[in-house]
Amino acid sequence: MNGSVLSARTLRNLLPALSLLVLLAAIFYLQPRAISYVGFNLMLNLAIPIAFATIAQMCVITVNDLDLSIGTYVGFVACIGATLLSGGIGALPFIKDLQASGALPATLPWIMNTPLAGVLVLLMGIGVYALLGALIHLRNLPSIVVTLGMSFVWLGLSVLVLPVPGGQAPGWIKSLMTLKTPFIPFPIIAAVVIAVAAHILIMKTSYGAVLRGAGGNPKAIERAGWSLLKVKMAMFALAGFFGMLAGLSLVGLTTSGDANIALRYTLLSIAGVILGGGEFVGGRISPIGAVIGAATLTLAGSFLSFMRIPPDWQIGAQGAILIIVLALRTLIDRAEKRR
């Protein structure tokens, strides 16, 4: 009996990887040339920021919350990355306007040009996330409401920073994101590194067990003497950290910032977590699965293009893929229960 339960569990754990392989096979069938160094580079480029955003979302889902602001937060980080992080305060459009009108001198002092301003703002973003976690825990608020409100705050801040798309990504991020690695395309290496790092952080460390336990049985964690407040703050801060990496990698690819650049990431990240075998409640998550889920969602876009499905229909078709995979999972669960 033990063996059969185990096999259902393995099947469940393998489902994300299997769906990715099926998708790859389908792409190979439609367009064999896509399965190549250049093809993977093109297809999976955008998987890196989505993978980061998915890991961020996974951190929040681990403690039974949901982050509806991750998309606009990633957009905010991208805007900061394209301005403050590359040219300091002087890179902000309204400062440039002031310079053009003569209110400010053409050459600004060092303090106005240092990228440290960007670093500071990004750190504050992570701090805000930690405070959100504290607020949600202390006031017992629904995270959906809090983060939905925050999504407008991030969007508003991004528009203040960059009223129109523009700015310039820092050179080092650009060159990192367009790195030409030998043999294996950079996006694949990056995805593996992200997955392994997140896996070690959440699944392997001793405090990671406490973090996940807080999703499974918060009362037990509290009774064992751990602070749930610290757990929530740690998880939200981690989400802020990974969200920041998502925004920076995104701006490295697009080279310029835009407040609306990542609005879709909110739903993509949730879908990625669920597709990767995670569950909304109970602390059951899988970082490796989440990265695979993000890659699957990205490839699904390419696959649908190869199928010559117009972009208008692609979001719907992505939803269909999601439903199929989740239906398979439910079937496995049901078979397991019947046994």
Binding site: V5, R9, K204, S206, Y207, A209, V210, R212, G213, G215, G216, N217, K219, A220, I221, E222, R223, A224, G225, W226, G282, G283, R284
Partner: protein, 489 residues
Amino acid sequence: MASAATPIISLNGVEKSFGAVRALRGVDLACHAGECIGLVGHNGAGKSTLMNLLAGVFPAEGRIEVDGKDIASRYSVATAQAHGIRCVFQELSLCPNLTVAENARIMHASLRGFGWRKRAGKLILDKLDEVFPGHGISASDIVGDLPIARRQMVEIARAFSVTTAPARLVILDEPTSSLDAHLASQLLAYVRSFVAKGGCVVLISHLLGEILAAGDRVVVMKDGKVVVERPAADFNRTSLVAAMGSVAHDEGANAATADTKRSETEPRVRVAADRQAGGPELIAHQGEIVGLAGLGGQGQSEMLIRIFDAAGKNARNVTVVGGVALVAGDRQTDGVFPLWSIAENITISSLRRMRRGPLIDGAATEAMAEDWKQRIGIRTPDMNNPILSLSGGNQQKALFARALGSDAQTVLMDDPMRGVDIGTKQEVYGMIRAEAEAGRTFLWYTTEMDELKHCDHVYVFRDHHIVAELSRSELTEEKVLHASFAEVA
């Protein structure tokens, strides 16, 4: 250093209240090294509150001494753990999404750094081997996949496992509830060897045989107080049951006498007897108040839900004539609509009778609310105030008004008087009596002996079965307790 005579922990006049309910009213208890204390008592006697307190889950008033030092104000989970005081709670405190080893780590903050997983796994498996030889559990098993007995075993082993802090006092709350006889005897044997090595165990169980077999000293609680404390050798099953029940009969005044003859007519509610377990069938006639007794969580609530679900349907084994209304016991989750007014909360079950076309007839609902305000005495200046502006007892009255105001012939009550003050209780008892005389049928799950005295007929539940049937004249506390506590397992 604490001398051998200093108790590990001692409570002196400890009190604890939850709102209007006084869960503990001055408890004195000392736990010494090298003894096993059996703690027994009926529902609501305060056993669980006491153990939560020992574990440091919540603070209380009074004097708490650990190793001879008074630390009542600063007592917390961390202090309890540092002094080697551990608890196995009745509802499992494992994280179902983690492995057995990871759950061990949750308890032991010192399991960290490289190789913590291996050390945690070895720690818990060694202890499992010691307590339950041949347990068949692996450290990498996900707890949620284990059957309940194995989860219980993991939790027990975890409580006895030692890293930096010692395990000196382990409190076990119904530890054998999901273990079979073999595992239970393994556990009791381990408890004895743990005690022999100088540990202390507080064993809470409703299996009196276990208490008598494993305990050195038996502490009997009733109504938030320790009423008897004697060596286990002085007790036998009968005297223990007697100690739990027959203390302080303060409310003997309204002892009903005449045994009303059960009507021969077709009953309102009939639940056929369990075919495997046997036992009596449950019958409730028109105008009867039928009590469902026994310890908490022995299937009484489930029985009420079964009857509720069967109403108006063709259910197997359950026949219900006429409509049914339920008064929930857990007000906050099952009872009130917290954002609605008192009037809306009362009229929700009767809206079908108060319509004007597709709309709600405001005048009719207001009239009904005012009517019930008078009849049941809800203390509020305005029935349109939010329900949460009422005290707990008055909220419960509103829920009674909802059920009694509906046209349901049968009212099911799921321990509705939890946390209600005595004055309100008396008012509601009177009303139930009056409604029953007017022809309504009541099925009343209660864990309080005093409430059973208001019933015409009582069924005692144990392990999801009816194990005894008592008419009003047969009803004594002793009989209910005897039936509630299983024969020696």
